[in-house]
């Protein structure tokens, strides 16, 4: 995780809505605009039970209800979450990257609530005056798109060759002209998801190789469907399916940046999860044993070129993690129930997208639910700069790193720690328990530090002005 990456500013003015063009899709998954169970939106009337049926194309059997029963129980009042977003505000759907990021700080109730309620954290952070620092260079986007196009070019011949080599050695290699590449275009994410399910069924029944380019899959998140879009899914002749992730970081001499591979694996795990219910259904329908492989194919540029190479990545651990993090999103309604009745995160946007809600008021609303800020959030959550500011104001020791708490026991703030480290009886707080081993150790540490520094301290001298001042 690169901290500098986290500090980058988005290009454009940050709050611009992503356009679902092909270029953007590679970078972030499709964010559906009209596919959410929100009673205030007349054009959708999607309850949990009717959604699968309505999502399927006419004539096709209903899509399976995901076996992954994540989200709030049926009794949940969706109105509450709507109130939190504000009247007329559409919930923001979580993409695969956001779903994968749930594991980054599962202890944070603030994040769970905001994500679960579909609140746009980026816009919220902007309105709070602590905008997120994400952004993507257009060079990286162009390169990523060019690479993906190269990988999939020529009917996916190279992609299938790599997949066969890495995941199915010893079986007959795919003949380029026999690989099916079904057309998955359809109207809207639901239509595309249904089209994908149908294509998977047909390809599996046919018993050959098939390459699905940008299929659309649904995952149920906190009771509502989120649509995710893997780079590709390959159907093997044996009826198993492989998720393909295409990334533009290099594999040099067979190894790659482990943090980036980890992120790719967590993202791929979301796709595997989303495929599982479809596989169950296709299996039942075709009578074949359909298996979603838990080894995904990661395709990256080889060395310093943009010729593709690939590695199989075992995502079993990421699957387990993602499963339980999605299951824990059921807490959203519980958390919402603890908030004061009038709480809302509505930004009161004007028509041109400017937030008119006073930042202090928003800050107060955000304060009603606890955050579990840690520096790692800076690279994983849009609200992190706001939470860091608050955490620092409160003097929370976690602002210095998660590991800091380890030896401090019950001491949670800088003030408490310094009071404990001070000489016995001399502290203003006087609350430090002299029998607490943390207090004893801190006192010892402070005394040893002071002893070592006495007379030797070399305060840094100010040097000439540096360029960035």
């Amino acid at each position: 995780m690169s901290y500098e990456r986290a500090l980058r500013k988005p290009h454009g003015n940050g709050s611009a809505a992503p356009k679902p063009d092909r270029r953007q899709r590679r970078i972030r998954d499709w964010a559906p605009r009209m596919s959410v169970p929100d009673a205030r939106l007349p054009q959708v009337n999607v309850s949990r039970d009717s959604r699968p049926a309505s999502a399927a194309p006419p004539g096709a059997p209903p899509m399976p209800t995901p076996s992954l029963r994540v989200g709030a129980p049926p009794s949940v009042s969706w109105g509450r979450l709507t109130e939190l977003r504000g009247p007329g505000v559409r919930p923001r759907s979580l993409d695969a990257r956001a779903l994968a990021a749930l594991a980054a700080n599962p202890g944070c109730r603030r994040r769970a609530l905001l994500d679960g309620a579909g609140i746009d954290k980026g816009a919220l952070a902007q309105a709070l005056g602590s905008p997120a620092a994400y952004g993507q260079s257009q060079f990286a986007i162009v390169r990523g798109n060019a690479f993906e196009a190269r990988v999939k070019g020529d009917g996916g011949t190279e992609l299938l060759r790599l997949l066969h080599e890495r995941l199915a050695p010893g079986t007959p290699p795919p003949e380029p002209e026999t690989v099916a590449t079904p057309d998955l275009s359809a109207a809207g994410p639901e239509g595309r998801a249904a089209r994908t399910a149908l294509a998977l069924r047909e390809a599996t029944a046919a018993g050959g190789w098939a390459l699905l380019d940008h299929p659309m899959l649904a995952v149920e998140v906190a009771g509502s469907p989120a649509y995710v879009e893997p780079d590709a899914v390959v159907v093997h002749p044996d009826g198993s399916w492989t998720v393909v992730e295409i990334k533009s970081f290099p594999m040099i001499d067979g190894s790659a940046d482990a943090a980036k591979v980890g992120a790719a694996a967590r993202q791929a795990a979301v796709y595997v999860l989303a495929l599982e219910p479809v596989a169950g259904h296709v299996g039942a329908h075709t009578g074949r044993a359909v298996q979603v492989r838990d080894r995904v194919l990661l395709v990256c540029p080889k060395d310093f070129s943009n010729l593709p190479t690939a590695a199989a990545v075992d995502v079993r651990k990421q699957l387990a993690t993602t499963r339980r993090q999605l299951a824990r999103l059921t807490r959203v309604e519980e958390i919402a129930a603890t908030l004061p009745a009038e709480t809302t995160f509505d930004l009161r946007l004007t028509d041109d997208g400017t937030a008119t809600r006073p930042p202090e008021e928003l800050a107060k609303a955000v304060e009603t639910v606890d955050a579990a800020y840690a520096p790692e959030c800076l690279a994983a959550c849009e609200l992190a700069f706001h939470c860091r500011k608050r955490s620092r104001q409160d003097g929370a020791v976690e602002a210095l790193g998660r590991g800091v708490r380890g030896e401090l026991g019950g001491l949670g703030t800088i003030e408490e720690v310094l009071a404990a480290a001070g000489p016995e009886g001399a502290s203003g707080l006087g609350a430090a328990d002299p029998d607490d081993p943390a207090v004893v150790a801190l006192r010892r540490a402070a005394a040893l530090r002071a002893e070592a520094l006495a007379g030797t301290a070399v305060p840094p001298q100010r040097t000439k002005e540096a360029g960035c001042r």
Binding site: N105, P106, A258, R316, A320, R402, D436
Partner: protein
């Protein structure tokens, strides 16, 4: 939960542990003595008779006129093996190769008639069996390699340590427990991650990566772990290589002469005597590692174990027929396990304060390979504000939960389940590295879920 499922519940024949273990041992010895491959790998779960196997294989090789070298990882392990070899066959010529430092080996060895000790390999020429640590063997030069070797605790040996001794032998039997603590390095070794010979990985991973078709065996029966513990330890830590207890429910019994006084400590003792497990749960609180309340609770549990006149009845040896007599639970049969050295030191001080002596108090690392009637464990995550990779390491919990013959009592603060749930999982993934199962997170959750069924909530 899966922990209580019998891995072989589908078969109808009654399970005969002795026969099953004997069949496994025979197959191992066949491959070792008569096989054509250069290596044989044996996975041994806790208490499955690994040392017995090593001693037997060494004696049979020697008896067949094939002298061998034995590689163990620590001096204590080497001394223990030499003692066992001499115990089985006092006539067997055994060499104990040791370092030139004073006190390098157990002085008891000097009194064994057929055992010769030396710091120089030349002095041990002609001995049937020569035993030493991997570290000492690495500095040893021989003209002709040994035809045979046994490498003990091979999963705790690092790949680079094997590299420096593998030239000393032509073929070897590798024995170890894959569920215990992995070897580690104090410096980064990421640049070799994914290479078959990654020097920081375990000797067995490297061996099998280069020789994937070597015969691999597994000892199927734990003679140490009671029927109450084997299913949990097997399911939580050995999900793909299940094992069974050699004893049935009711074969072992732990009883107290003095009835409980109703306190939390006594209630958890009764629960553990009854079920083999006990969780003494203290109120949730963030504490430093040496949580005084938890440390005191551990010490009190030990004190009461002794005060209440505990007695452990084990199954009778197969030959004897009847029931064995109860053996008093003395301090030498009890151990306390912790994650950190300072915790062990704090427990020792607390025990001394209660007048208890002779109880082994140590970290998981140092308790590896040891066995007691009852263990008292300070849970590695008790009171922690955060879980770290160290505290979640599967092997650590596995060692702590698998040292006992009768019962294991865990002292822990409430809130560990939440702590596990809130643990961020953003691990890096290195290409080509085989992932290790089970995951520490999962293993911790399954152990905790099981312990919760034997929970005594106590506010000291």
């Amino acid at each position: 939960m899966t922990a209580t499922q019998d891995p072989r519940s589908t078969t109808n024949r009654p399970f005969d542990p002795a026969a099953s273990a004997a069949a496994a041992t025979d197959a191992i010895l066949r491959d070792t003595l008569h096989g054509t491959r250069r290596g044989v790998v044996v996975d041994s779960p806790p208490g499955a008779g690994k040392s017995t196997l090593v001693v037997r294989a060494a004696r049979e090789l020697a008896a067949a006129g094939r002298p061998l070298m034995v590689v163990a990882q620590t001096n204590a392990q080497v001394d223990d093996l030499v003692l066992r070899l001499a115990g089985k066959d006092p006539e067997l010529p055994v060499g104990r190769l040791h370092s030139s430092e004073p006190g390098a080996f157990d002085p008891v060895l000097a009194e064994l008639p057929a055992v010769r000790t030396s710091a120089k390999i030349a002095d041990l020429a002609g001995m049937d069996v020569v035993v030493s640590t991997a570290a000492k063997w690495a500095y040893t030069k021989v003209d002709e390699p040994w035809r045979h070797a046994i490498v003990d605790e091979a999963y705790q040996m690092r790949s680079d340590a094997l590299l420096s001794v593998a030239g000393l032998f032509e073929r070897a039997l590798f024995v170890g427990d894959p569920g215990q603590l992995d070897p580690f390095s104090v410096v980064g070794a990421e640049q070799w991650a994914g290479l078959a010979y990654d020097p920081s990985s375990s000797a067995v991973s490297t061996l099998l990566a280069h020789n994937p078709d070597l015969p691999q065996h597994r000892l199927p029966v734990s003679w140490r772990l009671p029927a109450s513990a084997a299913p949990l330890v097997s399911a939580a830590f050995y999900p793909y290589t299940p094992f069974r207890s050699g004893t049935g429910h009711g074969d072992r019994r732990l009883a107290f002469g003095v009835p409980g006084d109703g306190s939390g400590v006594d209630r958890v003792l009764d629960e553990a005597a009854e079920s083999g497990w006990g969780l003494l749960e203290l109120p949730a609180r963030h504490t430093p590692r040496t949580d005084p309340e938890a440390v005191r609770a551990v010490a009190q549990v030990v004190r009461r174990l002794l005060d209440r006149g505990g007695a452990a009845t084990s199954e009778s040896p197969a030959s004897a027929g009847g029931t064995a007599d109860p053996v008093p639970l003395t301090s030498g049969r009890i151990a306390v396990g912790t994650a950190h050295r300072d915790q062990a030191a704090a427990v020792r001080t607390a025990l001394a304060g209660l007048g208890v002596t002779g109880v082994a108090v140590d970290t998981a690392n140092r308790l590896q390979g040891r066995e007691f009637d009852v263990t008292v464990v300070l849970h590695p995550l008790s009171g922690r504000p955060d879980a770290t990779a160290f505290h979640l390491e599967t092997g650590r919990l596995c060692v702590l939960a698998s040292r006992h013959r009768h019962a294991c009592i865990v002292v822990c603060r409430a809130g560990v389940a939440d702590l596990l749930d809130e643990h961020p999982s953003t691990e890096p993934v290195r290409l080509g590295v085989t992932i290790k199962f089970p995951d520490g997170w999962e293993a911790n959750h399954s152990v905790l879920a099981h312990l919760n069924e034997h929970r005594v909530v106590w506010r000291p």
